[in-house]
Amino acid sequence: MKYLLAIYENEKNWESLSEAESKQALDEYFAFTDAIQKSGNFIAGEALQPTTTATSVRIRDGKRLTTDGPFAETREQLGGFYLVEAKDLDEAIAIAARLPSAKWGTIEVRPIVDFSQSQG
């Protein structure tokens, strides 16, 4: 079963890190990615640029509205994600708990809908 691990954290935290600290955090991320690739859990994973680069798009009354900024202003922002394969929620939670950002942010674990499995 596939799960999305959505990484929410205060993006300002990254700016406030010293060079050494930010290198260490990145190294931890590389090691994590490496480990879940080896274990076969990794499907995809990306880091997002900060919300200052975000643009929101909606269609209302047939008109396209494009605005600067993220969908919602929140204390923690979506900063990246992993898509993983796990046998059940416990395994997905265990992987999420190993994410470096779990120590300062929040990882939301969401099961992916499997349309090929849909049944009555």
Partner: protein, 419 residues
């Protein structure tokens, strides 16, 4: 001849959880489907038993019936499903399991009950949903009974249960006993859910309590079950001890007119000696297992009260020390307030008052009536009646429940009469 509905009701109450626990495994972890087939089995019994006679082993009959219905259902699903591979596996598992049913062996049922317990109390479910699911499946309460217990309507509770069951299925919460490295943490979650249930029942001394299912009794049942399932987990024994010791005082805790009776004024002959003995034995067992947790300390405090034949025999110095350690283990202003009360009993009200003053100065308990109430009580005992009256009035402005309000009003009258 005994009547079928009452036997079924009794079996439902005693064995529903065990039957569901077993069938969930057959249904590949599908909670909702398992509950449905078990309910179908009970419905079938209600129809067939009056005609065919009551089976010698009602539980085994129901399990067998649920099992067959489950197998049928899995096979039907296989026929219906567009992609059959995973379901076929399930059907094969179901068929393999079917013959074993002829010699129903309940000895491995505890494993299933344990799986069910950990699934119900999975931290990915909301705390209220955890307790509701445990009551519904492990204790065999009907949805209506669970709804009454939580003072919500049956449709609301049904929705809450369905949502939890859907999450178990859709997020694939596993139907397993956690691995050893997670067992301690997950056991804490289970204990917390049981304790919540117990506290809910224990606090409900007013209002609609006559309508309520006896939540304390259900919590004790779950506690005993958990204790039997996890015999080596020390904190489980501690929690069971704590609940038993508190529960043993239930008759003495409420006066004839529904008022709250504090520990020092309780008629100790009303304490239930059997539960008290069992509670003390469980605490000994917990300590022998090396228990040193929050529940252990709370149970040890309750045990010191239980061992005192009269209020003046209470070992307050020990109790104050235990509260002191609780302040470190699980810091909370309420625990600190209890510690202050114990210190006052052990060393005199002025020592307690100093701690209450510190707590008040920290500003952490400003909305809680017990802080001014404790202060008032200490001032009263020190003979500072006028100040006590001020504090009682402040407590009365914050108190929420009727028995506690009556208690404070009575004390206020006492100090006003004395000054």
């Amino acid at each position: 001849m005994k009547d079928v509905p009452s036997i079924l009701a009794r079996t439902h109450r005693a064995d529903y959880g065990r039957i569901v626990a077993r069938v969930i495994r057959l249904m590949g972890g599908d909670f909702a489907a398992a509950e449905e087939v078990v309910q179908e089995a009970f419905a079938a019994a209600l129809q067939q038993w009056p005609r065919e006679g009551i089976p010698t082993e009602p539980r085994a009959w129901l399990l067998r019936a649920a099992h067959h219905k489950g197998v049928d259902r899995v096979r039907r699903d296989v026929r219906l499903a567009a992609r059959a591979d995973t379901l076929e596996t399930r059907a094969r598992v179901a068929q393999d399991a079917a013959p074993a049913l002829d010699e129903v062996d309940w000895s491995d049922a505890p494993d299933d009950s344990l799986r069910l317990l950990f699934t119900c109390c999975h931290p990915a479910l909301g705390q209220e949903a955890q307790v509701a699911l445990a009551l519904r499946t492990l204790c065999g309460l009907t949805t209506e009974e669970v709804a009454r217990a939580f003072l919500v309507t049956a449709p609301t509770m049904a929705q809450r249960l369905v949502r939890a069951q859907r999450k178990i299925r859709d997020a694939r919460i596993p139907y397993v006993v956690p691995e050893v490295d997670a067992l301690g943490e997950r056991t804490q979650g289970v204990l917390h859910a049981i304790y919540l249930l117990f506290s809910e029942g224990y606090a409900a001394t007013e209002g609609a309590e006559l309508l309520r299912v006896d939540l304390c009794a259900e919590a004790l049942r779950l506690g005993r079950l958990t204790r039997a399932l996890l015999p080596h987990q020390a904190e489980v024994a501690s929690l069971l001890a704590l609940m038993l010791l508190h529960h043993s005082r239930r008759r003495a805790r409420v006066s004839a007119d529904g008022g709250l009776v504090l520990l020092d004024r309780q008629d100790r002959s009303q304490w239930d000696p059997e539960e008290m003995t069992e509670g003390l034995a469980q605490l000994d067992a917990a300590l022998a297992l090396g228990a040193r947790g929050v529940f252990t300390h709370q149970a040890a405090i309750a045990a010191l009260h239980a061992r005192a034949a009269r209020p003046e025999d209470t070992d307050w110095e020990q109790i104050a020390a235990l509260y002191g350690r609780l302040c470190v283990l699980a810091p909370s202003p309420v625990v600190e307030l209890n510690r202050a009360a114990a210190v006052a009993m052990a060393r005199g009200p002025e020592h307690g008052l100093a701690l209450v003053d510190d707590l008040e100065a920290s500003g952490r308990l400003t909305e809680y009536y017990l802080l001014p109430a404790a202060r008032a009580d200490l001032l009263r005992r020190m003979g500072r009646g006028a100040e006590a009256a001020v504090a009682y009035r402040r407590a009365l402005a914050l108190v929420r429940t009727a028995p506690e309000r009556r208690f404070l009003e009575e004390r206020l009258r006492e100090v006003l009469a004395a000054t």
